[in-house]
Structure formats: C-alpha cells, structure tokens
Assembly symmetry: D2
Homo-oligomer: 114 residues x 4
C-alpha cells in the first residue's frame, strides 16, 4: 500500500470526527511520544529471551502500537505540509552520504565520529 | 511509493553496513524516542505564530526528522515480524469502532470516557 | 527533605527486592521516558481551561507520576555515580552563564541564538 | 541540600528571566521528554562495556542532563502545585504496598501480574 493512501484514510478519519481543532503541532508531538512509550512498555526490564516470547505472544498489541505511531506521523506530515514518502527517500540518500559503507560498516559510531 | 519498498530500502541500507548487531529492540525503542524529541525541539516554547514560520523556514530539517521516525518504525516492524501496512489498516478499523462518529465528533475525550 | 535521603530510601527499596539485576542503564532510560509519557497523558488534547481543572481533580495521580520520574532519576544518578544535588547546583550556575539576565529576559531563544 | 531549596533556586532563575510566560504545562512536558532523550543519546547502540567507559569519560555531561531533568521536574511540581518531597515519600510507600518484598523479590513482573 502507498503511504499517500494510508495518510488519506487517516486524515479522513479525523475530518469525520472534527478533531483537527485539538491537533495542534505540540499536541501531536506529545501524542507521538506517548505512543512510543506504549511500545517501549512491552520490553521494559525484559531479557532478550523474554522479548523473543513477547514478540510472538503480544504480536497483535505490538502491531497496534506501531500503527499508532504511524498514525501520528501521518497527522504531523499532513499538518506540516510535508510529503512523507519524498522525505523518507531524501533522508535515506542523505544517510548514504553521511555513512559511507566502507567507513561505517560494523561500527556504532555517529557520522561525526567516523 | 509502496511502504513495503521503502522498508526494503531501509533494511538494505542496514545490511550493507552490518548494523543489525547494534539494533536490539530496546535500542530501536530508545532511538525512536530520541528522534521524536529531535522533532519536538523545533516547537518547544514557541507560540502558534512562531510555529507557522518555523514550519516554512525549517521545512527541510523537519522533513528529515519525520523521515528518521519512519526509518526507526521500519526497523522495528521488520525486526518484530510485523506487516506495517496491515497493522495500520487494522488499527484504523479498530479506531473506527472505538470512536463511533456520532459519539466522538468534536470531543477530546478518550474512548473509555465517551 | 534532602535529595540524598530520598535517594537512599529508593535504593534501599530496590535492594530489598533484588531488582538491580533488571536495572541496566538502558532500561532505566526507557523506564524514565515511559514515566514522562504517563505524565503527558493527563494533558494531551486538553485546553488550558481543562488543564486547570485536571491539575486539581487529578492532583494525587499527577503527584504520583512526578514522584515516579524522580525515582528513575534517583536510580540513574546512583548507578551512574553522580551526586544529583551537586549536579543540579552546577547546572544552575552554568545556565546562569549561558542565559545572562539582560540578554535572555523575556526571550524564548536558545542561548546560541541570543 | 534540601529539595525545597533547590526548587526555590530554579524558580528564582526563571523569575529573573521572566520565562513563566513560555512555561505552559504542555511545553514543560515536551521539554522534559527532550531532556530525557538527551540523556538516552549517550547510551544508544552502546555495549555494556562501552557504557562503563562512557559513564566515566562523559560524567560531567551526563550529570548536566540529569540536572536538566530535575530542573523540569522542579518547574512542573511548582506549576502544578505539588510538593515534590511529599509526593516522592507517598509514592515510595505506595510502591511498598504494590510490591511486597516476599512476592516481588527477584521478579521483573508488574504488580498486576504478581
């Protein structure tokens, strides 16, 4: 599916409920970080082994959290006038330049430490 | 562009650099919340009027942050074995049930308070 | 009360439960951002007027969230070998230098934009 | 040093700069999560061994981030009319009840799973 079409669906959902009035940029930012924390909660304190079980047992709930994060990203990109697909492709290209394969391969350093 | 293809590009980028070894689920969660904060920083303390200017003046930088958030979402969905497109469509349907239009229209209440 | 004494109480609580084994620095960081989100949830989508009511109606719950944030800060400062009181006093002094009163008064600019 | 006195110093710093006007509860929440991310950045992607070195090498910078988190907590507790010391002591007592030593010792389960 295209991001564009997913975003259209998400914006239509909001319009039908007349929720734009609550969606200030700051609130969308807050909402986004709340959703990220809901994802994090599944893994807090857990060992790698436990995480492997949780991935399977709670797959549907985890999928919901990933979707919620995307939904906030959709609202933000729409309200900020940003073409998300184009932004992603551009950023992957920039990262290609910042992290040349030969220099960054197998390294956990930031680009400015390479 | 299809979400699936964007995610493929992002995973290929990682494979070329052999970065999977650093990408534990907890690290990806931390990375995701760091990217969200980098987006938030553009708007902190700002008035609505200032936000309207920032949206235009810093559009390219803001687009990069949105893209970074998507990139982490792509890694997480891949590593958690979740089909992101399907998760989003499923979640929109669930939200449709949780927030019936007639009950939730114009309201900022949570579904369990409606 | 002294921060030192609060931190001692918090560390004793943990020792009695033998929870140090789960408290990696990354987990404490994750836990801290989860607690911050729990605080944020009280205010998401709310108008200023609604926030003024929530402050009063949910005071006890909000106080619990602030305390939880402090508890994680206590664990982190202990485990990172940092004297929290000294760190705070030092940082206030640094901020005094970064934001001289005459330059920063009434301004929402960052120190490097002043 | 008493928490109360630290908070007084922090509020006095703000008053001298007339920054209350920017400190809405939502902005303080955003600021708090930005500071948490700045702390997280020190540890992202790092191995346990690397974290042990970073703790020492970047101690001063890490201490600054912990202090910044406390500073936001101080603003929030002041503006929400909450006595932070009392909130912390109350919460430790609640946690004592939620996590009885005999049941929670050595376990990473949440209180509602014990």
């Amino acid at each position: 599916m295209e991001n564009k079409d997913l975003i259209k669906k998400i914006i239509a959902f909001r319009e039908e409920r007349n929720w734009e009035q609550f969606h200030s940029i700051k609130d969308l930012c807050l909402g986004l970080s709340i959703e990220v924390s809901e994802l994090q909660e599944f893994f807090l304190w857990k060992t790698n082994e436990q995480i492997n079980s949780i991935k399977i047992e709670k797959k549907e709930h985890i999928a919901d959290e990933l979707a919620d994060i995307f939904i906030f990203l959709a609202y933000l990109s729409n309200d900020l006038g940003i073409d998300l697909d184009k932004a992603i492709v551009t950023k992957i290209d920039k990262n290609d330049d910042k992290y040349p394969i030969e220099k960054s391969r197998g390294s956990n350093k930031k680009y400015n430490e390479l």
